[in-house]
C-alpha cells in the first residue's frame, strides 16, 4: 500500500508527507519531483494505491501525466487525485475531463491543509475500493 506523491515544491511535499504521517497513512510514500519522474516510477515500479498529482510541474505538466496514465492500458484505472494550489475553474474542468478521480485545492492555512490532506488520505487509502486489476 503506497502513495505516489508528484510534487515539485519540496516544502509542499514535506508538508503533505507530514500530514499523511499524522494520520498514519505513510507506510510507503514515493515522491516524484516532476512529471517525467512520476511516469518512470509508474512504468517501472509497483502500482501505487493512489497518485496525488500536482498540476504545475517541471518537464511534463500534470495534465500530460494524467493523460498518459489514462492512455496506458495498465494504468488507466489507477486513482489519480489532483492536489494543487489552483482553484481556477478551467483547471478543475480539464482535470475531470482528462479522467481525474478527485480535485483538491491545497489550503493556505496550515490546519486546513493538514486536515484536507488527512481526509483525502483516509478516504483514498482506507475507504475507497479499487478494482482487482489495480490492486496488488
Amino acid at each position: 500500500m503506497s502513495v505516489l506523491l508528484v510534487e515539485d515544491d519540496p516544502e509542499d511535499a514535506a508538508l503533505t508527507i507530514r500530514a499523511l504521517k499524522r494520520h498514519n497513512l505513510t507506510n510507503h510514500v514515493q515522491h516524484a519531483a516532476d512529471g517525467a519522474e512520476a511516469l518512470d516510477i509508474l512504468r517501472d515500479g509497483p502500482m501505487p494505491r493512489v497518485v496525488l498529482l500536482d498540476l504545475k510541474l517541471p518537464k511534463i505538466h500534470g495534465f500530460d501525466v494524467l493523460k498518459r496514465v489514462r492512455d496506458d492500458e495498465r494504468l488507466r484505472l489507477l486513482p489519480v487525485v489532483v492536489l494543487t494550489s489552483s482553484r481556477e475553474d478551467p483547471d478543475i474542468s480539464r482535470a475531470y475531463a482528462l479522467g481525474a478521480n478527485s480535485y483538491i485545492v491545497k489550503p493556505v492555512d496550515f490546519d486546513q491543509f493538514t486536515k484536507a490532506i488527512g481526509d483525502a488520505g483516509v478516504y483514498w487509502m482506507l475507504l475507497n475500493q479499487t478494482p482487482v486489476q489495480v490492486a496488488h
Binding site: R18, E88, V108
Partner: protein, 618 residues
C-alpha cells in the same frame, strides 16, 4: 455653380435659342397639363361637333329636298294640266274643217275667219303667238307676238313625241321659248301645222305659290329634262345636271350664291319643273347648331383647362416639395445644382438621381467607415483577447505560485510552534503568531484578488432570482458562523431580481457580511434589507446601524484594497465592495452608499431590468 453643370450636348439650334421641343419640355406641368387637356377636349369636341353638324346638315338637306319636291309637284299640278289643256284646245282647232280647208285650199278669204278662230282661243300667259304652217312649214298666217321674221330666225322643230317641243334659246337674244306643234291632218295626210310659240315669263300666281311653299327667295326652274336649256327667271345660262328633277342638286346662281333645287318632269313633254332655294336658309339650322356647338366646346375647353390647371397645381406642389427634399439630401451643403432642363417630373427625376447618387456615395463612405471600424474592432478585440489571455495566465500563475510560499510560511511557522514550541521564548512565540496571522491574511488577499479577477472574465447568464429567498439563505448562513451573536435583521418585500444567481449571491453576501461586521460594536444591531421603486427602477438596499463612515471618503469605497477602517478594528481585505461594484456594473446597474460616522450605512444598488437585452459590461 456652372462648373457643376453637365456639359450641354451640341444641339444645332442651341445658338439660335431654345429648340421648340426643349422649350416644351422646360414648361411647367402647371402649363403643360392645361394645354394638353384643352387640346384633347378641343379635338374631342370638334370631332363630335363636326359629326353632329354633318348629320344636322344632312337632315336639313333632306327636309329641303322634300319641301322642294312638294313645291315642284304642286307647280307641275298647276302648270302641267294647263299646258295639256292648251294642247287639247289647239288640237281642237286643228280638227276644225275650216282650218283644214284653209290649209289645203290656202284661200285668202278664209284668212280672217281663221284668225278669228284662233283669237277665240283663251289668251295665254305672257308673250305668245300662234302661226298656221303649210305642209312644207311655210307660215300661212301669224298672230300675236309671232312674226314671220321670228319664224325665219328661230325655225320650228318637229317635236319627237307629243305636241310639246323642247325649250330653246332665241338665236337673236336671251329669250327662251318653246313651241306647241299640232299637225293638221287631211284625209290621213299632213296638211299643215298649228304652231304656238310661248316665251317664258313667270306669272305672279306661280311665283306666289312658290314663295308660299318654300320661302321668299324661292325660284321656279323650267328647263329641258336633259338640263340643256333652263331658266330660273334670274339667269338662263349655266350648268344644270340633267338628273335635276330626281335628286337634290346644287347650282351656282348668277349672283354667286349657291342654290339647291329639286324638281319633277312635266308629263307628256320634254320639260321639267323644279323649285329652288338658296342654301343659306336651308342650312341656317345647322349653322345655328354649329355656332351653339362652338360655344359649348369653347366653354368645355376653358373649364377643362382650368380644371387641369387646378389639378396640376395640386400635383406640382408636392412634386416641388419632393424635388426640394431630394435636392437637400443630394446637396446638404446648399449647393443646389441648377435645374432648368424640364418640367417638375423631369426635375424631380434629376434631383432624385442626384439624391440617389449622393445616398450611394454616403453609403459607400459609411461602408468604408464601417469596414475601417470592423478592422479596428478586430484589432482591438485581438488586443483585448491577448490582454485577457495574459491576465488569465497571470491569474493562473498567482493561483499556483503565490499560494505555495505563503502556505509554506504559514505551515512551517505552525510546525515551529508544534515541534519546537517548548524551545521558544514568549516573545519568539508572539512573533511566530504574527507571521502565521499575516500569512493567513495574505492567503485571503490572494483568494479575494483571484475572485475579483475572475469576475471580469466569467460569462453572465441572467435569470430570475427570488431576492427574499436568497437573502434569507445568506442570513441563515451568516448567522451560523457566529450563533451567539444577536442581530435584528429584517427582510422587506422585494421583487425578484434578474441576474446571474451566483454573482447576485456574492453581492448580497458581501453587503450583509459588511453590515454584520460593522454593527459588531452596537449593543442592539439592526440590519434591514429591502427594495423601493425610484424613477422606474428597483433599488435594492442593505441598511445597518453600525459605525458607518465619513462620506468624504465615499469615492474610495468601491476601489480594490481600499479600506476606511483599521484592520485591528474590522478585519478585511478591501476587496468585498470592489467585487460588489464589479458585479453590479457587469449587470449594467449602479451601486452607491449613504452613511455618516457612527450613524450607520446604507448600500444601494440597481440592476438592468429584465426586458432590456442588456449587453453585459466587460
Amino acid at each position: 455653380m456652372n462648373s457643376s453643370e453637365p456639359p450641354e450636348p451640341p444641339v444645332p439650334s442651341a445658338a439660335s435659342g431654345i429648340a421648340p421641343d426643349l422649350a416644351w419640355r422646360r414648361l411647367s406641368i402647371g402649363i403643360k397639363l392645361p394645354i394638353g387637356v384643352a387640346l384633347l377636349l378641343t379635338l374631342a369636341s370638334a370631332t363630335l361637333s363636326a359629326a353632329a353638324y354633318w348629320h344636322v346638315r344632312q337632315l336639313a338637306f333632306e327636309l329641303a329636298s322634300e319641301r322642294l319636291k312638294t313645291a315642284a309637284t304642286q307647280l307641275e299640278a298647276v302648270i302641267g294640266p294647263a299646258l295639256r289643256q292648251r294642247v287639247a284646245a289647239l288640237q281642237r282647232v286643228s280638227l276644225n274643217p275650216k282650218v283644214v280647208e284653209y290649209v289645203t285650199e290656202s284661200s285668202e278669204e278664209r284668212q280672217d275667219e281663221i284668225t278669228s278662230i284662233l283669237e277665240r282661243l283663251p289668251p295665254g300667259n305672257g308673250r305668245s303667238g300662234i302661226a298656221v304652217l303649210d305642209a312644207t312649214g311655210h307660215p300661212m298666217l301669224v298672230t300675236g307676238a309671232l312674226t314671220v321674221d321670228e319664224l325665219a330666225l328661230n325655225p320650228p322643230n318637229t317635236p319627237r313625241d307629243g305636241a310639246i317641243d323642247t325649250l330653246r334659246r332665241s338665236a337673236k337674244d336671251e329669250d327662251l321659248f318653246y313651241d306647241l306643234v299640232i299637225p293638221i291632218e287631211n284625209g290621213g295626210r299632213l296638211g299643215g301645222r298649228i304652231l304656238e310659240r310661248r316665251w317664258l315669263t313667270l306669272s305672279a300666281p306661280g311665283l306666289n305659290l312658290l314663295t308660299g311653299l318654300i320661302g321668299p327667295e324661292a325660284r321656279l326652274i323650267i328647263g329641258n329634262r336633259d338640263g340643256s336649256v333652263w331658266t330660273d327667271f334670274h339667269q338662263t345660262r349655266g350648268t344644270l345636271p340633267s338628273a335635276a328633277p330626281q335628286t337634290l342638286i346644287r347650282y351656282p346662281s348668277a349672283d354667286g350664291r349657291a342654290f339647291v333645287a329639286r324638281g319633277v318632269n312635266v308629263r307628256d313633254s320634254p320639260l321639267m319643273l323644279a323649285a329652288s332655294t338658296p342654301i343659306g336658309p336651308v342650312l341656317s339650322p345647322a349653322d345655328r347648331f354649329l355656332l351653339r356647338a362652338l360655344w359649348v366646346t369653347t366653354a368645355i375647353v376653358i373649364v377643362g383647362a382650368l380644371a387641369g390647371w387646378l389639378f396640376s397645381r395640386r400635383v406640382t406642389s408636392p412634386l416641388r416639395q419632393l424635388t426640394a427634399a431630394a435636392e437637400r439630401i443630394a446637396s446638404p451643403d446648399g449647393h443646389v445644382r441648377e435645374q432648368r432642363h424640364g418640367d417638375e417630373v423631369v426635375r424631380l427625376d434629376s434631383s432624385f438621381a442626384q439624391m440617389v447618387a449622393r445616398v450611394d456615395d454616403s453609403h459607400r463612405q459609411l461602408q468604408l467607415l464601417v469596414d475601417d471600424l470592423e478592422v479596428r474592432v478586430k484589432a482591438r478585440t485581438a488586443e483585448l483577447e491577448a490582454a485577457n489571455h495574459e491576465l488569465e495566465a497571470f491569474s493562473y500563475s498567482v493561483s499556483h505560485d503565490l499560494r505555495a510560499p505563503i502556505r509554506a510560511i504559514s505551515a512551517f511557522s505552525n510546525i515551529l510552534i508544534e515541534d519546537h514550541g517548548a524551545e521558544l521564548s514568549q516573545d519568539a512565540r508572539h512573533c511566530v503568531d504574527i507571521v502565521i496571522k499575516r500569512a493567513k491574511h495574505m492567503g485571503q488577499l490572494i483568494d479575494d484578488l483571484l475572485m475579483f479577477s475572475r469576475l471580469s472574465r466569467q460569462p453572465i447568464t441572467r435569470q430570475t432570482v427570488s431576492m427574499t429567498a436568497l437573502c434569507s439563505a445568506i442570513i441563515a448562513e451568516l448567522r451560523s458562523v457566529d450563533p451567539a451573536r444577536i442581530v435584528d435583521i429584517s427582510i422587506g418585500d422585494m421583487p425578484d431580481a434578474y441576474a446571474e444567481p451566483a454573482l447576485l449571491r456574492q453581492v448580497m453576501t458581501n453587503l450583509l457580511q459588511n453590515a454584520l461586521k460593522y454593527t459588531r460594536p452596537q449593543s442592539a444591531a439592526h440590519v434591514e434589507v429591502g427594495c423601493y421603486m425610484q424613477g422606474g427602477e428597483q433599488v435594492y438596499y442593505v441598511r445597518d446601524n453600525g459605525v458607518g463612515f465619513d462620506m468624504q471618503y465615499a469615492d474610495r469605497l468601491f476601489g480594490v484594497f481600499q479600506r476606511l477602517h483599521r484592520e485591528e478594528d474590522f478585519e478585511g481585505t478591501g476587496v468585498g465592495l470592489a467585487i460588489v461594484h464589479r458585479i453590479v456594473t457587469r449587470h449594467v446597474g449602479r451601486v452607491w452608499a449613504d452613511a455618516a460616522v457612527n450613524a450607520g450605512a446604507t448600500f444601494f444598488f440597481t440592476l438592468a431590468p429584465a426586458e432590456t437585452g442588456v449587453m453585459e459590461a466587460a
